[in-house]
């Protein structure tokens, strides 16, 4: 049903690696920066990561966080603005470790961040090796414009869910829209089902 765009053809002859690029995405060698406002700069001396709500909220200082078991992972990331970046290398603490330190039964979280950004996720999408709080990218400390000191890393969802400058998670009984979700972006954001906007 889509009209054919007269004279339009594929520009880049090299095939995308099969099965690695979600619909509507293109692969970039760059690492674009997108955000809604100025980049916050929080000194690590003032940084904490907290899990609020649940039966036993927890909080870690930067030093305590650095002492937690960390993993280095290589993942593909997919931005809703259509760029995908393959084989990105991050180091951080698995959400299995962080959630494992608290007692809860809430099904949802709202991630909150310096600068006021928030995003919502099901707890199930943070568990079982699917998510990290990452503080290193490409072997170096995560730069502020890419979310440093630390950001959420949830590669199986569109990258706006990988909240930059993350400072904690608020456990919730219901799924409440975060920043972009309030402005019409999808509540879940699965790139493989191309869930960019509400109703997709």
């Amino acid at each position: 049903m889509s009209p054919i765009s007269r004279g339009f053809h594929r520009r880049h002859e090299e095939a995308e690696p099969a099965g690695r690029v979600p619909p509507g995405q293109y692969v970039t060698p760059d690492f674009p920066v997108l955000s809604a406002g100025p980049t916050p700069h929080t000194p690590v001396a003032n940084w904490t990561f907290s899990i609020e709500g649940g039966q036993s909220p927890a909080s870690w200082t930067w030093a305590e966080f650095q002492a937690l078991p960390a993993e280095t992972v290589t993942v593909d990331i997919h931005c809703v603005t259509r760029w995908s970046k393959l084989d990105t290398v991050w180091k951080g603490v698995s959400l299995d470790v962080l959630l494992g330190a608290v007692s809860y039964d809430a099904p949802y979280v709202l991630a909150f961040c310096d600068g006021g950004y928030t995003t919502n996720l099901p707890v199930a999408d943070l568990k079982d090796g699917k998510a990290w709080v990452a503080y290193s990218y490409g072997g170096s400390p995560l730069a502020p414009e890419h979310g440093g000191p630390a950001r959420l890393l949830v590669p199986h969802l569109y990258f706006w869910k990988s909240a930059k400058w993350v400072r904690g998670l608020r456990l919730r009984e219901t799924d409440a829209p975060g920043f972009w979700e309030m402005y019409g972006y999808h509540m879940y954001g699965d790139p493989w089902r191309e869930q960019r906007y509400a109703g997709d």
Binding site: S5, G7, R82
Partner: protein, 238 residues
Amino acid sequence: MAWQTATVDSLVDETASVRTILLSVPDWAGHEAGQHLDVRLTAEDGYRAERSYSIASAPGEPVAITVERLDDGEVSPYLTEELRAGDEIELRGPIGGYFVWEPAFSGPLLLLAGGSGVVPLRAMLRHRSRVGSSVPVRLLYSARSWAEVIYRAELARLGDGVQVIYALTREQPPGWTGYARRADQAMITEVAWPVAQAPLAYVCGPTNFVEAVAADLVALGYPPAQVKTERFGATGTP
């Protein structure tokens, strides 16, 4: 949000590499100044490409986008060189509700454009004119050269209440007395509305421009929540 088929009404060459495309969109629900839309192209072999473009027109005007041709782009060369009046194109929108200006927002308005970042800001300026708003505006527009300034004639005609300040970073016309360098703290300090006037700032352009300008505004004392940014993924790839 459903894709719909729009028809190209007309094309306007703004500069050697920038074109405005005016569209007829039968089921357009309206938009706000600063929003964008998604365009989808489908080749004969079924290959598809989608990209987002800021809406260049004000609410109530025919939908228009302004596209800059990126040399190694896949979609922008097509839109700026191949597309003709009468062609059909798929789009959906409007998208984005944060980088939006409404006349009801108080405070003087500071618009900061890097290159084609001027597009959503131009929609805001057109909206302001159409509704007869008297909110004072300053636009700092950084471009490589005078030839690359988009909407040149239109920006010259904006009239009272709107100050347009250019920074031409690579090449300046003879006798140029304006800024001849990239935006820096000194320039932002000279151009920005005083913090005490509770201004609202919108910064749009390539990420280096936005990062530097937003940081300069915060350093001046602008509350971060009063500095809205939109970064064009301008990374050299389409």
